[in-house]
Symmetry: C3
Subunit: 398 residues, 3 copies
C-alpha cells in the first residue's frame, strides 16, 4: 500500500472515535478532539485516494437524502459530491412538492423517505430555535423507525447548517487553516479574528460565527470575537468557546472593534450576520404568520446594519494583521465592495488576493462530509480504507 495512505491509517490508529459509528453529526462540540481529528484524517485519506485515482465507492446502492430549507449552491454540491464519491445517489426532498407541517408529519415523512437512505443531510438555518429542533426531530424519528424494524438501516444525519452550528463549513475552514500552517502542531498561539462585517443584505444566520468560535478554540489558538453592539451570538456558544480555549491552552476573548480584533491576527474571518434579538423577533413574527411585521423588521434592521458600514475588511485593516499577511477566510459567497455590492464585507483587492486559499478552503467541504458519512457507516474505518486500497478499483477506468 502507498505510504501516503498508510500515514493516514497510522494516524487513525492513535485516535479513539468508535462512538462515531452509526451516530449523527449535529455540532462539532458534541465530538471529542479525537473524533474531530478522525474527520480531518479520513477527509485527507479520501482526497488522497481520489487523487491517486482509487475509487472510494463503498456503497453499491443507497440514497443520500437532502433537505434544503434555504437556498444553497456550495453546500448542495458538496453534499452531492460527497454522496457520489461514496456511491450514494442523491434524492432531494423538495418540501414544496410534499407537505411537511407539524411534528407528527415530520416523523412520518422522515421514515417514508428513509427506507433505503443511508444519509440525510439537512440545511435549516433560517429561524432561531427551529433548525436544530427540526434536525433532532428527524433523527429521533428514524432512530425509532430503525429500532422498530421499519428501517433496515439508521440513516446518519449530517447537519448541513442549522441555527446553531455549521459544522461542515467550519471543519472545512479549519482544515484549510491546518494545511495552510502546515499542521495542527503549528497553531498554538496563532491569533484568529472572527469579526462581524457589514453587508447590504439582511438576516444571515449566526451559525458560522458560532461554529467558528465553537471549533477554532480547540487548537490552542487565541480566538477573538468582535461585533457591533446588538450582534451577539448565542451565549451558550460563547461558553463553549471559553471552555474549549481553557482546555486547549488557547484563549477566547471579545473585543468591541474590528481594529482591535485584526491587530496582529494570523487569520481573519470577517463576515456579516444578523443581530440576535432581531432574529429572535423574526422567529416570533414568523410563528404568528405576521409577514408585514417581518417586512417592517427587515427595514429596521437594514437601517441598523447601515450604521456599521465601517466594519469592512479593507486593505488598511489587513495591513495591521501579522506582517500584513493574515490568512483571509470566508464561507462564500462574500459581499465584495464594488463587485457584488456598493459597500460590503471586503475590499475587492483583498478578496482577489486570497482567491486560491478561499477556493481551497471550500474544496475541503465535500471530503469533510464524506468523512462524516464514512465514519458513521464503517465499523472499522482503517480496515475499510486498507481494503479499498487493496481492491484498487480505478475511479476513472482508462
Amino acid at each position: 500500500m502507498d505510504k501516503g495512505l498508510q500515514a493516514f491509517i497510522d494516524k487513525l490508529d492513535t485516535l479513539k472515535f468508535s462512538d462515531m459509528y452509526e451516530n449523527d453529526f449535529f455540532f462539532t462540540w458534541d465530538k471529542t478532539d479525537d473524533e474531530i481529528m478522525a474527520v480531518f484524517t479520513v477527509a485527507d485519506a479520501l482526497r488522497h485516494m481520489r487523487e491517486k485515482n482509487i475509487s472510494t465507492r463503498i456503497f453499491d446502492s443507497g440514497l443520500g437524502i437532502s433537505i434544503f430549507r434555504d437556498n444553497s449552491t456550495r453546500t448542495r454540491f458538496s453534499f452531492a459530491s460527497a454522496c457520489n464519491l461514496l456511491g450514494l445517489a442523491v434524492q432531494d426532498l423538495d418540501e414544496k412538492k410534499s407537505q411537511i407541517a407539524h411534528g407528527e408529519t415530520v416523523r412520518e415523512t422522515a421514515n417514508m423517505v428513509s427506507f433505503m437512505a443511508d444519509v440525510i443531510g439537512i440545511r435549516d438555518d433560517m429561524y432561531i430555535g427551529k433548525g436544530h429542533t427540526y434536525q433532532k426531530t428527524v433523527v429521533d424519528a428514524v432512530t425509532e423507525g430503525y429500532r422498530h424494524g421499519i428501517l433496515e438501516q439508521k440513516p446518519t444525519l449530517v447537519n448541513l447548517q442549522c441555527d446553531v452550528d455549521h459544522p461542515t463549513q467550519c471543519l472545512a475552514d479549519m482544515e484549510e487553516i491546518i494545511h495552510y500552517f502546515g499542521g495542527v502542531e503549528n497553531l498554538k498561539g496563532k491569533k484568529l479574528a472572527m469579526t462581524w462585517a457589514y453587508s447590504p443584505s439582511y438576516g444571515k444566520p449566526l451559525s458560522v460565527p458560532q461554529g467558528v468560535i465553537g471549533l477554532m478554540t480547540r487548537f490552542g489558538m487565541d480566538v477573538v470575537l468582535a461585533h457591533p453592539e446588538g450582534y451577539d451570538v448565542f451565549p451558550e456558544c460563547e461558553e463553549i468557546a471559553r471552555r474549549n480555549a481553557e482546555k486547549s491552552g488557547g484563549s477566547f476573548t471579545k473585543v468591541a472593534s474590528m481594529q482591535e480584533a485584526f491587530r496582529d491576527a494570523d487569520i481573519v474571518y470577517p463576515k456579516s450576520w444578523a443581530p440576535f434579538a432581531a432574529m429572535e423577533k423574526r422567529t416570533e413574527l414568523y410563528g404568528k404568520g405576521d409577514f408585514d411585521g417581518i417586512d417592517a423588521l427587515e427595514k429596521e434592521l437594514l437601517a441598523q446594519n447601515a450604521t456599521h458600514k465601517d466594519w469592512t475588511c479593507s486593505e488598511e485593516l489587513m495591513k495591521t494583521t501579522k506582517d500584513g499577511k493574515a490568512l483571509y477566510l470566508h464561507c462564500l459567497p462574500a459581499d465584495i465592495s464594488g463587485v457584488s455590492c456598493e459597500a460590503g464585507e471586503v475590499d475587492a483587492s483583498v478578496f482577489n488576493r486570497y482567491l486560491d486559499p478561499l477556493y481551497k478552503e471550500a474544496s475541503y467541504k465535500p471530503y469533510i462530509i464524506a468523512a462524516m458519512i464514512f465514519l458513521a457507516k464503517c465499523k472499522d474505518p482503517q480496515g475499510t480504507l486498507r481494503r479499498l486500497a487493496e481492491r484498487n478499483k480505478p475511479r476513472l477506468f482508462r
Copy 2:
C-alpha cells in the same frame, strides 16, 4: 447459497409468470394470480438480500424516468429507491420545463426521453379517464419506437397511480396483510373493510379503493366496500372485485355504513375519496378550461363532504372490529383528527397505535416496484437471483 433466498427461488419455481418479461404494469387485474405472487416473492427476495448486505444491482447503467403529474413524496421516494436498488439513475421529466400537450407530442417526448431508459414510472391520477389513457399512450409510443429500431430497449411502464388503479400501493398494502397474518394461506375468510372516510380536503383519487377491491378479493377474503351515497367507485372495478371473489372463494359485498363494514372486520382501510360524478364533472370542466367552474364545484363538494363527518375511524368503531383489534391500513398521509386537521379520517389514538404496521406497510413499496422492474427485465429471474447471490457483491463495502 443461504436457505432464505433458496426458499424464494423454490417458490418462484412453482409459479408461471413468463409473460411479465418485457411487459408493463398497468393494473393488478391484468396479471394472473401466479404473476401477483411472483411480485411478492421477488420483493421479499430483494429485501432479504439487502438485509444480508448483498447487492442486487443488475444495471451498471440505465435510467428510470419518472413523470409525476401530481405531488408525491412516498411514491417518488419509493420509485427512486427501487431504481437505485437495481442500479438505475432516476431522471425526472418535469413537464413545466418541457411542453407536452397533445397526443402527437406525448408520442414524441416518450421516445425522446427513452433512448437509455429501462423504466418509466408515471403518476397521473387527477382526472377520470385521463391517467390510464396517458400511460397507455406512452407505452404505445415506446413500444413502437422499440419495434422500429429507435430504442434499443423497451422501457417498462410502472403505473405509479392512475385514475383507475394504484398497484404499487395496493400490492404493498397486500404484502403487509400477508406478513401480518403469517402467509396467504391464513387469509381465507378474513374480513376486510374498505370504507370511505371524511376528510376536509377535496378530490382525492378513486384509485386506492378501486385498487384495493380489485386486488384484495383475490385471496379468499370477505371484502366489504362502504361509502356514502354518491361516492361510488368505477362500476367495472366492482365487477372485477365480484369476479375475483367468486374465483377465490371469498366474497365482495357493499354495505351502506361504516358501522356495518367494521363489524368483526380483521382489516380496516378507512380512506377519503372524491364522489365519482363530481370527478367526472371536474374532468369535463378541466377539458373546457373552466377554472371558475372547478372552484365552484370544489366548494359544493366540500359542503357535501362535510355532511359525512361521522364517517371516521374512531376508537368506538375500532372496538366493534374482530376482538377490537383489526389491522388498520392507510396509504398515507392520513387526515388525523386533532393532528393534521380538526376532524378527519381517523382518531389520533387509533392512528398512533398502528404506526409500526403503517410504516411497515409503506416500506414494502420500494421492493414491490423493484420486483416489477426485475420481472420485466430478467428473462430468468430465479437464475439472476442465484447469480446475484453467487456474485456476492456487498451493498456496503466495509
Copy 3:
C-alpha cells in the same frame, strides 16, 4: 474481441485527435476533420457496445454538471443519458436556487460546483453575444482552478447549445445523414437545403442553422442556405461554411427562396429562427432591462414572421426534391401545421412520413455527447475501448 468493435478501433487508428484529450467542445469548426470523425466513431462504438450489453461505464464516481439557461427536454435527457452511460451522476445547477450574476461570481460558482465534476454541460442560447461568452468564462474559471490546484481535474465543457453553435445537435443530425446514405464516402455532391421556415413562435436561436452550415459543408456536399430578407445568420458562420466547402470540394450557396433551395435536394432541413437584427436588439433591450421594449419587439417580430407563412415544408415542395424523397431533418420539436399550430414549419403528412429517421436522428445525441466526454477523458481511447471489451461487464446483469 468482436469484429464490430475492432472495426471502430481500426478506424480510430487512422485518425489524429490527441488534442481532444482534456479539451473542451465549443464549436465543431474548432475541430479538425479527423477529430469530428473520431466523435462519430466513438459514438458508434459506444452504441455498438451498449447494444451488445457491454458496460461502457468508465467512471466509478464523478459528476456531470448541467446548466440549462433555457428549457430543454431532448438535450437534458441526452446529457443525462450520456453521463449515465459513462458512470457520471448528473447534478443540475438550478440558477434560481443560487445567484449567478456578474463575471466575478460566474468564476466562483464554476469552481464551487466543480470539485468532483468531470463534465459541465451548458445550454445558453437566448441572447446573441452572451451564450458562448458565458461558456468561455466558465471554462476559463475551471481551467484556472485546475492550474492553481483547487480542482483535482479539469471538467470538460460540452456546449449543449449557445448563441453561435449547437454542436451536439448538428453532429447527431450529421450522423443520421452518414448512416442514412451508407457512409461519408457517399455524400460528395449531395445537395442539402438548410432553409428558414415559418413558425408562429418567436425568437428561436440561430445556432442550429449556423451549426448546420458550419458542419455539413465539411463533407463535399452542396449546402444551400435560404431565408427571407432580414433573417441572416452570423456572417462569420457563413464565412466558415464557405471555407469548409472550398476545402471539402463541395459548395456553399445562398438562395432567396425555399423553392430554389429544395429543388433536387437530397436532404432538407426547414426550420424557424429569429431575425438577426431583432435578436441583437433584443439582447440590447435585455441588457437595459427594458422588458416593455422586449414585448413590443416581440409583437413586431411576430407580425414580420407572419408575412412569411408561405415558407413551409409542404407536400408540394417535397415533390420537387430529388425523386420527391429528400431526407427531411429537424432538431425537434417541430411546429407541425394542423397539429401543434395552425400553420407552421411542416405539413403533418410530411412530418409523419419521416418519424423514424427523425427519431433515429435524435437517438444519436446521447452517444455524440458521450463520445465528446470519452475523448476528453481518455488519453488512449482505443486502448480504453479494448479494455472495456476485455472487462466485459454486462450493462444488464442477468
